[in-house]
């Protein structure tokens, strides 16, 4: 197990929890430490409990654990909310001069550090810096060189000018000094630094970055948690490369704008969450039937209806797989980590244009709001390839006309992929429609043409299955009889759970599936396994259903749907338990 430390700051929304957490996470990252962050937040602007958690290690971390070593508690509720994760030796930093924390006493075995956060902040230049005082105190507890904070304070407040950075830096040192002078600590929480240079980003940002790298120039969307960050990231950035981000009046408009831009030849995307996908589904069939390439990102949250907008779930699998009336060929990609959010976004754009098909790119809240450190090489732009598929120009479209020189945008081809002419291309004028159509794109009810066009569109999927790599990411012991299968964001937690299991001499083979449709054929792997456990964040086991359907075998299901992502240690225990049970015993 990596020597890691779990840190958190919690309080009320509006207390600056997020920015304080981010400042510390960046300081750790700049000090060459790996970081993985997670957030607890409620659907409100001010008030209510909110927390920013950081797990940090010299080794790479990709998940959260049920453990808190240092907690900055701005409210009593923060301690209550995290009681299960606190342990003997946990440090709780709080302000005993705050009315609500006056009577607070650290539970038995825990170390309470009563630091007058607000008073020290006021002395340093303003009460608003109380969180920074707490950061300084935390630095002292973890022997973290406080100079590392200065750079991230500069990054955060540098533009505001004046003495803001300086005052904050002073506030941090006041917190450090206070702990040093008033407490005689002998703890084992040293945060050692390294020379490594990391970047720190979340899944939404990785998607936006991947989109721009892949040549996306048009984005239309409507704000919705937890997908809005994709739009916020792209705003102001895609314009630098000649593109545009438009906030539409609703999701119906957003996807239709994206569709219009895609038909005009732009690499185009929209991003939303489940409720937005509902609205966009109207247009989904049109995109597929008109064979327009489009990337639709779904950053899933708890449903149905408005559900729990700020909580984790992977409940939209069936919606993406089956949503829309009629039968619609599509691709559904599910990045399994923050880094994969970048790579799968690039892949989504290429698949969309190579096969002129809508592509669902499905992340989830756990990926969207968690930040992670990476060596920058992980996002090597030189390795990004852009494939626009069968685009024709003025000369080459001559191969795709009928005897009246009319261009055939829906030509019946062997691989199912037809030529594509961007508007403005001479001689290529044509129509396309959501109605069933002939090769020219004109409406038809001819029974033979109907069958031929349906087959043609489905043939694109067959071609893609043959030509593209749909394999899962494989981890662990390939010979183990214990097979764990998962999709989407659970990969990090499962990989780490495997390390816990190894300590108990339980070996596991793990297949992490980044594709729901088409998806890898796991029949052989499943046949070779004694036990198959499918892990997913939903109640009914939507992916487990597919696995059972594909492999004709019952599997064990590990489901979580309380709104919180899987944690590594929790998963290890659950996998162990599942292995001991017979398949019938699991729901």
């Amino acid at each position: 197990m990596p020597e890691d430390l779990n840190w958190a700051i919690g309080g009320e929304a509006g207390d600056g929890i997020d920015s304080t957490g981010k400042i510390f996470a960046q300081a750790l990252s700049r000090a060459g430490r790996h970081v993985f962050t997670s957030k607890d937040f409620a659907s409100r602007i001010r008030g209510g409990y909110t927390a920013y958690k950081i797990r940090t290690s010299v080794d790479r971390v990709e998940s959260v654990v049920d453990r808190l070593d240092i907690l900055i508690a701005l409210t009593q509720r923060t301690v209550e909310e995290n009681m299960e994760e606190l342990h003997e030796g946990s440090v709780i930093i709080y302000d005993g001069e705050r009315t609500t924390m006056k009577d607070f006493e650290a539970p038995d075995g825990m170390i309470g550090l009563n630091v007058p956060l607000r008073r020290l902040a006021e002395e340093a230049g303003g009460a608003i810096m109380q969180n920074i005082v707490a950061l300084g105190a935390a630095c002292e507890v973890s022997e973290f060189p406080i100079e590392n904070l200065d750079e991230s304070l500069e990054k955060r407040f540098g533009q505001k000018g004046g003495s803001i950075v300086e005052n904050n830096s002073k506030a941090a040192r006041a917190g450090q000094e206070y702990v040093r002078e008033n407490y005689d600590l002998d703890l084992d929480y040293e945060l050692e630094t390294t020379d490594a240079d990391y970047v720190l980003l979340n899944g939404d940002e990785a998607i936006g970055m991947g989109a721009i790298a892949a040549g996306c120039r048009f984005y239309a969307g409507y704000p919705i948690t937890p997908a809005t960050n994709v739009m916020e990231y792209m705003t102001g950035r895609v314009e630098q490369f000649g593109g545009a981000v438009v906030q539409a009046e609703d999701e119906l408009s957003a996807i239709n704008m994206a569709l219009g831009a895609a038909r005009a030849g732009a690499r185009s995307m929209t991003a939303t969450s489940g409720p937005g996908i509902d609205l966009m589904t109207e247009t989904f069939g049109l995109i597929a039937t008109s064979e327009t390439p489009l990337v639709i990102t779904n950053v899933m949250r708890s449903g149905p209806s408005t559900g729990m907008p700020t909580k984790q779930e992977q409940g939209d699998l069936n919606q993406m797989l089956y949503g829309g009336h009629g039968e619609i060929p599509r691709f559904v990609l599910t990045p399994t980590s923050i880094s994969e959010c970048f790579h799968k976004t690039v892949e989504a754009f290429n698949l969309a244009e190579k096969y002129q098909t809508p592509v669902y790119l499905a992340a989830d809240l756990a990926l969207a709001v968690s930040e992670q450190t990476f060596p920058p090489e992980e996002f090597d732009m030189d390795k990004v390839e852009i494939d626009r598929g069968k685009v024709v120009d003025e000369e080459s479209l001559g191969e795709w006309v009928n005897d009246k020189q009319q261009f055939k945008p829906h030509a019946l081809t062997e691989d199912g992929v037809s030529p594509r002419a961007f508007p403005g291309t001479k001689g290529g004028a044509h129509m396309s429609t959501g109605l069933e159509h002939d090769e020219l794109g004109r409406r038809t009810e001819d029974t033979d043409m109907r069958v031929e066009q349906v087959d043609k569109r489905n043939r694109k999927v067959e071609t893609a299955i043959e030509n593209e790599d749909w394999s899962p990411r494989e981890f662990g012991d390939a010979d183990s009889g214990n097979l764990v299968i998962s999709w989407g964001s659970n990969e990090g937690a499962i990989r780490e759970a495997m390390e816990f299991l190894e300590e108990d001499d339980v070996s596991v083979r793990f297949l992490s599936v980044p594709y729901i449709f088409p998806r890898p054929d796991l029949t052989e792997e499943i046949a070779a396994a004694d036990d198959v456990i499918v892990v997913e964040c939903n109640a009914t086991g939507q992916f487990a259903d597919l696995i059972e359907h594909d492999a004709l075998r019952r599997v064990k299901r590990l489901n979580k749907y309380n709104g919180v992502r899987f944690k590594a240690d929790e998963l290890a225990a659950k996998i162990k338990q599942a292995l001991s049970e017979s398949v019938e015993a699991t729901p």
């Binding site: 990252s29 700049r30 240079d197 990391y198 970047v199 720190l200 980003l201 721009i212 790298a213 040549g215 120039r217 048009f218 950035r237 314009e239 490369f241 000649g242 593109g243 545009a244 438009v246 539409a248 009046e249 119906l252 408009s253 957003a254 239709n256 704008m257 569709l259 219009g260 831009a261 895609a262 038909r263 005009a264 030849g265 732009a266 690499r267 185009s268 049109l286 008109s290 920058p376 996002f379 732009m381 990004v384 390839e385 852009i386 494939d387 626009r388 009246k404 961007f422 508007p423 403005g424 291309t425 001689g427 290529g428 004028a429 044509h430 129509m431 396309s432 429609t433 959501g434 004109r442």
Partner: protein, 287 residues
């Protein structure tokens, strides 16, 4: 674009399936003439339509075209225009498509002011579903779904457009070919979102809002002393409950299209087959 384009170049070889005598023939002919006479050709024109009789227009015209879903044609047109501002974008819809299911998009398209032309083929009835009330139907207009009339005020599309900050608001009549073409041409040449409501009678299901009715009642603003740049005058025309008018009702001479205000000028279809220059800076931002 080329100068020797004839309006028939915009005609496809498909015979329209509109009812004989349908107003949509005239509306479409005017659109084709307007496009040709403003120097456009089928290869630089992108035509979007929604659902209904009006939605069929993409089949009968020859251009780049998309026949979309009900009520959503405007966003498609906006996306296409922003992705490639060199395209001439025209959107066609019916009164149901535009002012019922698409009313939200209409208001926002008006206020967004993207440089494009929106022609509504308004026949004050649902034709393709065989005769139900539309949002512009009269209050007492009896139909299969409103046997005593809708008993609600009809939508006033021009008022909606003016209230939303419209920069070009016009009314035409499909049967008055000369005026219709003239208005369409002005709409195409307007730098911003040009809205043309075109009375396009339904000879099968609407026996009230007929050719005769419009011919007798429409007052041509050209023959009145109307100044289309005067917003108050436009208001008077729009809210006149006694008369109906034809012509350019309002035109903001200072209109600056959305794409110009936003600095969108590139044809976004043209990208290199590798990430853009300086893409690695995107990664470095996360240090």
């Amino acid at each position: 674009m080329s100068s020797d384009v004839r309006f028939t170049d915009f005609k496809s070889d498909k015979q329209p399936t509109w009812c004989p005598g349908c107003g949509d023939f005239g509306t479409m002919n005017g659109m084709m003439k307007g496009l040709a006479e403003t120097g456009n050709d089928p290869d630089n024109t992108f035509l979007v339509a929604g659902i209904g009789c009006s939605g069929k227009i993409g089949t009968y015209m020859h251009s780049y075209a998309l026949h979309g879903v009900h009520g959503r044609a405007l966003p498609v047109g906006i996306g296409a225009k922003l992705a490639n501002p060199n395209l001439e974008v025209m959107v066609a819809g019916g009164d149901g498509d535009g002012f019922s299911i698409g009313a939200g998009h209409f208001v926002h398209a008006v206020r967004r002011n993207v440089n494009m032309t929106y022609v509504v083929m308004d026949n004050r009835i649902y034709g393709l579903t065989k005769g139900q009330a539309s949002p512009t139907s009269r209050e007492d207009f009896e139909t299969s779904t409103t046997p005593d009339g809708p008993m609600q005020a009809p939508v006033n599309p021009h008022a909606l457009a003016l209230a939303a900050g419209g920069t070009f608001i016009a009314q035409s009549f499909s049967s008055d070919a000369l005026r219709h073409v003239e208005i369409i041409k002005q709409a195409i040449e307007h730098p911003g979102f040009a809205f043309v409501n075109c009375y396009s009678p339904c000879v099968t299901f609407n026996d009230v809002d007929t050719y005769d009715y419009f011919r007798d009642s429409l007052v041509d603003l050209k023959e009145e002393d109307h100044d289309p740049t005067d917003k108050d005058a436009a208001k008077d025309v729009i809210f006149d409950s006694e008369k109906e008018y034809m012509g350019v009702i309002y035109k903001d001479e200072n209109s600056v299209p959305f794409e110009e205000r936003w600095g969108i000028s590139e044809d976004m279809s043209q990208i290199e087959d590798k990430p853009p220059e300086g893409a690695m800076d995107l990664v470095r931002e996360f240090y």
